[in-house]
């Protein structure tokens, strides 16, 4: 084959597969980045996508000895069991209440904390506050329960000691249906506020400093700088976080509730995940547990799509 023929053939190949060659070139040029992306991709394929095959358990009367495909197909029976549960609506209500409550309380607190840390002009104080705010995130809910009991126990909790000192009557915060939800919401905010603030601090770090300088020259005070520069600047991140959180709206925090709840407060504490733990896992009803998991996943995905669409229409910010 002559050089001219080779050249001609090569040219025709390029003409026939332009897109593929371009993709190859792109991958080749950014191979280090693709290589880095491959690790999480492999993780997601193995631990998130491959297990989707097993989601069919939700539609089967799962028998471990028969395996996933060998178990009897029972259609929507597992979903029906969940929906027909005596406490179905109570579980949905509690789950949504805690998820939305945590969003409403924790998200603004995280943003406020991030702004405070960002605006703090004393580096030493900033580091101390940041460290103290992050610290609770690393404590397990077992430890947190111990701390909460020391603070809130009706007999000798610090808070109740203060209440009694002021002439009030001790309150059993952890066993009272009126106070328990607030304990859940604020203990979660306390534990996770610092950690959640990291993403907002990162967003704040990306704001062009000249904007603040210009505002100061124009005579804007601190509050005005926050209102007109900081908040709009981090709004895309807030929207992203909000949309992502909506995807897990039916995950109300199993570890926390499981540690804190007791029969006295089941009416306001039992969430979908604790029910699944008792009815699905402890009773070996893996089909039921998977059905509920699938239900949560599909519901969460629908919410993410809706929130993304709404956000794009209202704010021009969206995930995709």
């Amino acid at each position: 084959m002559t050089t001219a023929e080779n050249k001609e053939r090569s040219t025709s190949q390029v003409l026939q597969k332009p897109a593929r060659s371009k993709l190859r070139r792109e991958i080749s040029r950014h191979r280090s980045v693709y290589l880095l992306a491959l690790i999480p991709l492999v993780y997601y394929i193995i631990f998130k996508y491959v297990p989707i095959w097993n989601a069919q358990i939700a539609f089967r009367d799962f028998m471990a000895v028969r395996g996933v495909t060998g178990s009897e197909w029972i259609g929507l029976e597992n979903f029906r069991t969940f929906v027909d549960s005596f406490y179905f609506w109570s579980l949905i209500r509690n789950t949504v209440m805690y998820s939305v409550g945590k969003l409403v309380i924790s998200l603004p607190l995280s943003i406020i904390l991030a702004i405070c840390i960002y605006e703090c002009t004393k580096p030493g104080l900033r580091k101390v506050v940041q460290t103290l705010a992050y610290l609770p995130h690393f404590l397990s809910w077992v430890i947190m329960y111990g701390i909460l009991l020391a603070l809130l126990a009706p007999g000798d909790g610090v808070v109740n000691d203060v209440i009694k000192l002021a002439g009030g009557k001790a309150i059993d915060f952890l066993s009272n249906v009126k106070t328990f939800p607030w304990v859940v919401l604020f203990s979660d905010a306390w534990k996770e506020m610092g950690w959640s603030a990291i993403i907002f601090i990162a967003a704040l770090m990306g704001i062009d400093v000249s904007l603040f300088e210009a505002a100061m020259v124009e005579g804007a005070n601190s509050w005005q700088r926050v209102r007109y520069i900081t908040i709009p600047a981090i709004m895309p991140v807030v929207v992203t976080v909000l949309i992502l959180k909506l995807g897990t709206i039916l995950d109300a925090g199993f570890n926390q509730i499981f540690m804190l709840y007791s029969p006295q407060v089941y009416s306001v504490a039992d969430i979908i995940d604790t029910w699944v733990y008792r009815q699905g896992l402890l009773e070996f009803e893996f089909g039921l547990a998977t059905a509920v998991g699938l239900f949560k996943g599909v519901f969460g995905m629908m919410l993410v799509l809706f929130a993304n669409w709404l956000s794009r229409r209202l704010t021009d910010n969206s995930l995709f």
Partner: protein, 526 residues
């Protein structure tokens, strides 16, 4: 950059290979079961002292078992928490990856049997004559019998009737009170302990009775066993009544309502430590050691064993607890509590049987109950981990950390619950008489145990085999009783009846009927 890429590639390769190994290793060929070609037995066991750590790789037992039995023993320690154990076993079951031999609680065993994951072991007992004589009596075998077949080996677990009603005698003496014998006297004493400053510190910081919610699905129904002495005064101790006239769930007895009224009145008056609904077991135990209450229901060793009594002894050198008789209620009922036989079940997976390992498992269990296995697993090596005293009882002697009670010795006796059967030697060794460090009292958890066992108890033998309700019925039961006690729901006869009606409707009646049928079938009604 090239180095970084290499590292990344290795990491990816490891990640991708993970699922391949996730299923564990498989025996490719049947082993001969000789020292040179041993059969691998995978054993998941309940450790004697979880926090002490795993049996070391150089444990002498591995070599003995390999040489004498031709078994390569692979040990895995189960979590100490029962719920965590259940989840671990259930997850392994769901993946059809149960080990050859494993400890399991009965409700989980029932689920595994339904799934066909556990092997029948009816024929094994004759292959283990020594162990069967020592550990598996008719009651034990009945405990693991499901639909006419035996699915596991039930060894004696916690000693029956090993809990009791304890009162602070030093508080009684200080206030000039007698030991309560009736419910009214009990409440009077509780009132005095709450309001008359029994510790004399001038502060309003004591309560009459202390408890926490300790429940299970078969014996200790809500509000739990820590209230049993009060429930016993009404004849409603234990989740199930096996009495011929009232067979069924105790909740249906009219006296249960009376008990609830009394308990609520005690709570409202502040006679019970108000933390009781929030306490976990450890919190409760810390509380009595801090002198918060003067009466409680506690286990013998949790109260009287050397390490457990020491903090109380240090805090209150003049303090003294005594075990008292059951208090008598308005209708003449009295019971410390309800007792069942406690068992630790070890089940064999169907996979192990399919792999031809059942005979080797029987051999292993039988060896464990031989003199050699019993002492090695129970106390370690003589001269290294224990010495025999003049009565032939294994004692720690001067062996320090290596003794079976020391930090190093504890790890080599982690399997002791697989061989112990609450025999005299074990009890004498486990609960030695000692003198407390601060007050110089002579204490013995064994003496306390015997005192507790001598009190009046109600038999609820067979409770462990009773059916359990689904999650909704269980929640309704627990939640409703809790709401009555906390006042969230007013405790009136009408509301009580409404609760029972709804309970029946959502599945309580079916649960009760299933229980009565089970009692009848097993001949448990007395």
């Amino acid at each position: 950059m090239r180095k970084l890429k290499s590292i990344l590639l290795v990491v990816m390769a490891v990640l991708m290979a993970l699922p391949v190994f996730a299923g564990g290793s498989k025996d490719t060929a049947k082993a001969a079961g000789t020292p040179d070609d041993p059969v691998t037995i995978d054993l998941w066991f309940g450790a004697a002292v979880t926090e002490a750590g795993m049996i070391p790789d150089d444990w002498v037992g591995y070599d003995i078992i390999r040489e004498k039995l031709g078994i390569d023993l692979k040990l895995t320690m189960l979590p100490s928490n029962e719920s965590d154990q259940d989840v671990r076993i259930q997850a392994a079951g769901a993946a059809n990856e149960l080990p050859d031999l494993f400890m399991v609680r009965r409700p989980v065993l029932t689920n595994l049997v339904k799934q066909g994951l556990v092997a029948q072991v009816d024929d094994c007992f004759e292959k283990m004559p020594v162990r069967t004589a020592q550990q598996y009596d008719a009651s034990s075998i009945a405990h693991t019998t499901i639909n006419g077949h035996v699915y596991g080996f039930a060894s004696p677990g916690a000693i029956a009737k090993n809990e009791g009603l304890l009162v602070r005698k030093d508080w009684l003496d200080k206030l000039g009170l007698e030991i309560p014998t009736t419910l009214d006297e009990f409440i009077e004493v509780a009132r005095a302990f709450t309001f008359d400053d029994p510790d004399g510190n001038g502060r309003d910081d004591t309560y009459g009775y202390g408890a926490f919610v300790e429940t299970d699905a078969t014996l200790k129904g809500y509000p739990g066993s820590r209230l049993w002495p009060i429930m016993g005064a009404f004849g409603v101790e234990g989740l199930w009544s096996f009495d011929s006239e009232t067979a069924g769930l105790s909740i249906y007895k009219p006296e249960f309502y009376d008990f609830m009224v009394t308990l609520k009145a005690m709570c409202d008056e502040g006679l019970i430590d108000p933390n009781w609904l929030s306490y976990k077991k450890d919190d409760f135990r810390a509380a009595w050691k801090q002198g918060r209450f003067g009466m409680m229901y506690e286990q013998n060793a949790a109260y009287a064993a050397t390490a457990n009594y020491a903090p109380f002894d240090k805090n209150f050198p003049d303090g003294e607890w005594i075990v008292i008789d059951a208090i008598t209620g308005p209708e003449g009922h009295a019971a410390i509590g309800a007792y069942d036989m406690n068992y630790r079940i070890y089940a064999v997976s169907q996979k192990a049987v399919d792999a031809g390992k059942l005979d080797k498992i029987c051999e292993l269990l039988e060896w464990m109950s031989s003199d050699e296995g019993y002492y090695l697993l129970g106390w370690g090596q003589e001269g290294v981990n224990y010495v025999l005293d003049e009565n032939g009882i294994p004692v720690a002697g001067d062996l320090g950390d290596n003794a079976f009670t020391g930090s190093k010795g504890q790890v080599v006796t982690q399997l002791r619950n697989m061989v112990f059967y609450n025999g005299d030697v074990e009890l004498a060794s486990r609960y030695p008489t000692y003198v407390t460090e601060v007050s110089g009292k002579t204490m013995s958890a064994l003496t306390t145990l015997r005192e507790m066992q001598a009190k009046k108890w109600t038999s609820a033998v067979g409770s462990g085999t009773m059916p359990t309700p689904n999650a909704d019925v269980q929640r309704y039961y627990d939640q409703s009783l809790a709401e009555f006690l906390t006042g969230a729901k007013e405790l009136t006869p009408a509301n009580w009846q409404a609760f029972l009606d709804q309970f029946n409707k959502i599945g309580g009646e079916a649960w009760n009927q299933a229980g009565i049928a089970k009692m009848t079938e097993d001949g448990l009604i007395r």
